[in-house]
């Protein structure tokens, strides 16, 4: 008697579990079918961005929509981005997701960290970007077989750091239950993996104006500086990529930093010797790096601070120099945090 009861119970439990999985873990396949954004903007502009969304549901349920936008940290997106939506299931707005909210299927990460771990910086070349994540104000209800259409209208004030910028903005839509998961159910038009989320990477978007230096996240640069924002008391790594284009240094096996620092009291200090102090270490694949402590490198006094730096990359003799854009003009860098 007992074994038979046990088998029946097991079946009931299995059916209940399958039903529960169907309720909790099923949602709608989603895709961003179109993104509309101006080709460029000026620092301080509020840029309108429209995402057109299509969804195809394979079960009934109710959930909120997640929206993530990848942008430069300096734009302070949590303060400068708003979004609303219109859809066949109703209209509403988005609110910022608190950093304390853990993402579904995110292994303990919050939504920005989960997006960062899953999508990285979407092909941008400078790691000074963040995912700004919002969720729809109201959950919407859907039924098996529903085809939902809608649009998200983003208003993003660009260039809060006052820097002209070239960047690939990226967008992710998902829901608060399924995170970045997929199923094997084929849904025509939603790709072979039938994802419950979708990422869209835009073309290079240009922001002009501003008083800062151009920050180009989009195009390979002859030199980059890490961290992108630093003061003279940071350790600053300057990298030179000899593969970006043919330069006067092509074929040189040793390259050196030749830099001029300017202090807050107007003094200029040039360090342009070809010694161990300025030798850039080869790190493979035609790339060279040097990490300096600017205060010590330029030998400034305790009462001084460095405001900016210009620099060239030279060969061992110092006669061959590479500057900004492979010209005779120096690369420039401002010591600032914003």
């Amino acid at each position: 008697m007992l074994p038979r009861l046990n088998i029946k119970g097991r079946k009931i439990w299995m059916l209940s579990a399958l039903l529960l999985i169907g309720i909790v873990f099923s949602f709608c396949h989603i895709k961003i079918s179109k993104v509309t954004i101006p080709a460029s903007a000026k620092v301080g502009d509020v840029v309108p961005i429209q995402l057109d969304i299509d969804e195809s549901c394979n079960s009934g349920g109710s959930d909120r929509l997640i929206l993530g936008v990848l942008m430069p940290k300096g734009w302070k997106g949590t303060q400068n981005m708003t979004a609303t939506y219109k859809s066949s299931k109703g209209d509403g707005s988005f609110t910022m997701v608190p950093l304390t909210t853990l993402a579904a299927h995110g292994d303990g990460k919050n939504w920005p960290d989960y997006m960062r771990a899953t999508f990285g910086i979407a092909g941008n070349l400078i790691d000074d970007m963040e995912w700004v994540v919002m969720q729809s104000d109201n959950p919407f209800t859907y039924a098996n077989g529903d085809k939902i259409t809608g649009s998200i209208f983003i208003n993003l004030k660009v260039g809060a750091d006052d820097n002209p910028t070239v960047v690939k903005l990226a967008y992710v839509v998902a829901n608060t239950t399924n995170g970045f998961t997929s199923d094997t159910y084929f849904d025509e038009g939603y790709g072979p993996t039938a994802e419950y989320y979708n990422q869209y990477i835009g073309d290079c978007f240009t922001v002009t104006g501003g008083s800062g230096d151009l920050v180009d996240f989009c195009n390979p640069q002859l030199t980059t500086i890490s961290p992108p924002k630093s003061l003279d008391n940071d350790l600053v790594t300057i990298s030179f990529d000899s593969n970006v284009t043919e330069t006067a240094l092509s074929g040189s096996d040793e390259v050196y930093l030749c830099a001029t620092g300017t202090t807050n009291d107007g003094q200029t200090i040039t360090i342009c010797e070809q010694t161990a102090k300025t030798l850039m270490e080869g790190v493979g694949s035609g790339r060279y790096e040097i990490t300096i402590w600017p205060r010590s490198f330029f030998g400034i006094s305790d009462n001084q601070t460095l405001t900016n730096m210009t620099y060239f990359i030279t060969d061992k003799t110092g006669t061959k120099q590479v500057g900004y854009g492979n010209t005779t003009a120096p690369f420039t860098y401002k010591f600032k945090c914003g």
Binding site: P227, K229, D232, N233, L235, T237, S296, D302
Partner: protein
């Protein structure tokens, strides 16, 4: 004879079961006196130990509560001064007070790796976005 044997066994068992009083052992105060060097350095999570010359830097703590910086690099403080722990036995925080300067505190992360004490110090010498962690080890 049998009675004596039973009585003796009973007495031995009683003695054997006697509760021994052990005085609680207090946690020893953390002593960081000595000269410390940088074993590892990270900037925003990236290992930069081999990218910069940290080998000449030393921070020396004495038992009177003074510290000395030798061969400066970006650090919590740039001038000599005094240090203190928030609790001598169970410290969570170490505070550096440079001469004529403002006190700077950071978490006291005093770990043992392969039987050797290490001191992890987290600090921000420049922009707030740029966090550094130095893992220090005694060099004497």
């Amino acid at each position: 004879m049998k009675c004596y044997f039973i009585l003796t066994t009973f007495c031995l068992l009683l003695y054997a079961c006697k509760v021994e009083e052990i005085s609680p052992v207090g946690e020893a105060p953390k002593n960081i006196s000595g000269s410390w060097k940088v074993l590892k350095a990270t900037r925003n999570g990236t290992d930069i130990t081999s990218a910069f010359d940290f080998t000449q830097f030393r921070v020396k703590f004495d038992s009177a509560g003074n510290y000395t910086i030798v061969n400066k690099i970006p650090f919590l403080v740039n001038t000599n001064g005094t240090y203190s722990l928030d609790d001598p036995a169970y410290p969570f925080k170490i505070t550096f007070t440079p001469q004529g300067g403002t006190a700077v505190a950071t978490s006291f992360n005093y770990i043992t790796t392969a039987g050797i004490r290490q001191l992890n110090l987290t600090f921000v010498p420049g922009c707030d976005l740029n966090a550094y962690i130095y893992t220090l080890e005694k060099d004497n």
